[in-house]
């Protein structure tokens, strides 16, 4: 499925389209990993994590971006969210 979307994005919008699709996956991933800890339907996990990814992630990046480079704040937000997911997972298992 991912391949179908990637090919479509590249075919219609070129490299920028493919990179946007990969970008959406990247900012969505921490939330999907987080929701994976809960007993939820697959569809819920996908839809909810996309909605959270394209909203919460940019909001945090914007706030950090007031203090530092927007690009660096993107990286820090991504790493922080992924770390938080692993901390949550560890905490939940215990």
């Amino acid at each position: 499925m991912i391949l179908v979307i990637l090919i479509f994005s590249f075919a219609i919008f070129g490299m920028a389209g493919a990179r946007v699709f990969i970008g959406i996956i990247l900012i969505t991933m921490p939330f999907f990993l987080f929701l994976n800890n809960f007993d939820m339907a697959e569809g819920e996990k996908y839809v909810f994590s996309i909605l959270l990814g394209v909203t919460i992630f940019p909001s945090l990046t914007y706030i950090l971006g007031l203090l530092m480079s927007f690009r660096i704040s993107m990286v820090i937000t991504l790493i922080t969210l992924i770390l938080l997911v692993f901390v949550f997972k560890k905490f939940k298992i215990r």
């Binding site: 919008f13 389209g17 946007v20 970008g23 839809v47 909605l51 914007y62 927007f70």
Partner: protein, 541 residues
């Protein structure tokens, strides 16, 4: 080999959704230049500024402030919406590695995301067929893509949250007494409500009415109340955390909604109660009359399905039916708030119609056969047959009608559609050159773009797009009262745009500009000269 049914259904939906992206991005595909009305410029500007300058901002840069500096009543000269939506556009510009395509593509993805959420909710509650039929109808819904083209970008995305918020609240209530009851769905209700508020407060107001109505319906149906103080307190906290993330923007709603800006415009009458749409005549000049017409927005063929679907919901009255009814009535209340003296953005609420009408129409089509109380062996095939007829009508009536409004030619600067409004390649490159080469404090004034009364409303958009792309204040030269000062100021660049004069065969303006170059710009230096656009800066020799 056994084919996974879920996988096939998801694949079908993904193909429909990709077609929606293709269909909605047609103006972008052949020409990679920005397009749209005034609102589109503002949203592009905010997201683009963050990514291009690699920083967030609290106070608006001058070229945005000049128009939007006072739009935030609570904290003037700051963003008038929470930056959530715009930061997502900025993120995609960074990921995409280009300025225009990533922002416009991301906006199309967000604007069409309501197709995903409606499909997801209707599939979860009613099954695949009603869900896919709903999705197909929304792809061709002019009330969705017209505001998207006009530039009401955040609002389009905010409406995608309504089905999800209602679904989460539904899941919380129907599982309330069950063993597997989990408050997480109430927390998601609060979380998504808060996010929808950050994207566009109007969508949040829409969903509040529907949530209250659904609660009342379920409470009456089950003859009990659902109150868990802990769940409610945590949910309120989640909402408040989101609200206080961007206080300057979110507190703006209070002065905004306490005002009485538009009420006097509308003639209130009891007949409004019996009409779904506001009166088209109240919006002449800003919204086309077709926008208020059921026939032109949905196609008359959908009306019987809408009536049948509504009847099915009222007759069945299961929890899922009550959810859709609450959604519908909530929207009805929002659409008739002019009766309570709140008429602002009324036509914008109308743009949420297809999101609930389409599922009801689809349910009407699929459950039509269930109204026949006789069992016969081919009932299932008849259901599929009706679904195929439904798709046939959508593709043969709604799609061609949609294509007349949304196609590859709209906003084409080389045809009549976009000649006066959209930047042509030369103008785009000149604007980009200014961004890359002019100091931040420099403003630009332009000659050559028509400014006469009959075209001014269109060409003003071109000037604004120049400002958006160049990230510099850009104004018509002709309207300046400080022409003498401008011509002696190093803080003003003079742009001579000859690109429109040829196609218009405007010899008089051409002669004037040639003369202007020789006389008024004798103390200026030509710093850009490409494709019939020249840029001068003041540099006394």
């Amino acid at each position: 080999m056994k084919i996974n049914k879920n996988y096939v259904q998801t694949l079908i939906f993904v193909l429909v959704y990709l077609f929606a992206i293709y269909f909605w991005t047609q103006p972008l595909q052949d020409r990679k230049v920005p397009y749209g009305e005034y609102d589109a410029m503002s949203h592009f500007e905010v997201g683009d500024y963050m990514a291009y300058n690699d920083k967030s901002f609290m106070y608006l840069p001058p070229y945005i402030d000049i128009r939007y500096g006072n739009d935030n009543d609570f904290k003037p000269h700051t963003l008038w919406y929470a930056p959530t939506f715009h930061a997502s556009l900025g993120l995609m510009q960074v990921f995409g590695g280009q300025r225009i395509v990533p922002i416009f593509l991301m906006n199309a993805i967000l604007a069409t995301f309501v197709i995903v959420t409606v499909y997801f909710v209707i599939r979860s509650l009613f099954g695949f067929l009603p869900a896919i039929l709903s999705a197909i109808l929304i792809v061709f819904s002019p009330r969705d893509f017209m505001p998207y083209i006009w530039g009401q970008w955040p609002e389009r995305f905010a409406y995608a949250f309504i089905p999800v918020i209602l679904y989460c609240f539904y899941k919380y209530l129907i599982n309330y007494d069950k063993k597997e009851n989990t408050p997480i769905y109430l927390y998601f209700t609060a979380l998504f409500s808060g996010i929808s508020f950050l994207i566009h407060p109007l969508a949040f107001l829409h969903v509040v009415f529907s949530l209250i109505l659904f609660y009342i319906f379920i409470a009456i149906k089950n003859k009990r109340l659902y109150i868990n103080a802990n769940h409610i307190i945590i949910s309120i906290l989640i909402f408040l955390i989101l609200f206080f993330m961007f206080p300057y923007q979110n507190f703006r709603i209070f002065p905004e909604f306490s005002g009485n800006k538009e009420e006097s415009v509308f003639k209130l009458s009891l007949s409004r109660i019996f009409s779904w749409s506001p009166n088209a005549e109240d919006f002449i000049g800003s919204v086309p009359p077709s926008y208020f017409s059921y026939r032109e927005m949905h196609g008359l063929w959908t009306l019987p399905f809408l009536v049948i679907g509504l009847s099915v919901l009222i007759i069945n009255r299961k929890e899922r039916d009550l959810l859709l009814l609450a959604w519908l009535i909530g929207l009805y209340i929002m659409l008739h708030r002019d009766l309570f003296g709140k008429a602002e953005f009324l036509h914008r609420s109308l743009s949420a119609t297809a999101h609930i009408f389409s599922p009801i129409m689809a349910i009407g089509a699929i459950y039509l056969i269930n109204l026949v109380k006789v069992n016969f062996p081919y009932k299932k095939f008849v259901k599929y047959g009706i679904a195929l007829i439904f798709i046939y009508f959508a593709l043969s009536i709604n799609m061609p009608a949609a294509s007349k409004i949304l196609n590859k030619e709209i906003y084409n600067p080389y045809t009549q559609s976009g000649f006066f409004t959209t930047l042509n390649d030369a103008e785009f490159q000149a604007s980009q050159w200014i961004l890359d080469n002019a100091p931040k404090n420099v403003n630009v004034t332009v000659l050559g773009i028509p400014y006469q009364d009959q075209v001014l409303s269109a060409t003003s958009k071109k000037i604004r797009w120049m400002a958006a792309v160049s990230q510099h204040v850009t104004r018509f030269y002709y309207f300046r009262e400080d022409k003498e000062i401008i011509l002696k100021s190093p803080e003003w660049y003079i742009m001579l745009d000859y690109t429109m004069i040829g196609p218009l065969n405007d010899q008089e303006t051409f002669n004037f500009m040639q003369d202007f170059e020789k006389t008024a710009l004798s103390n200026h230096t030509l710093v850009y000269n490409k494709d019939n656009i020249e840029v001068y800066k003041f540099e006394p020799k």
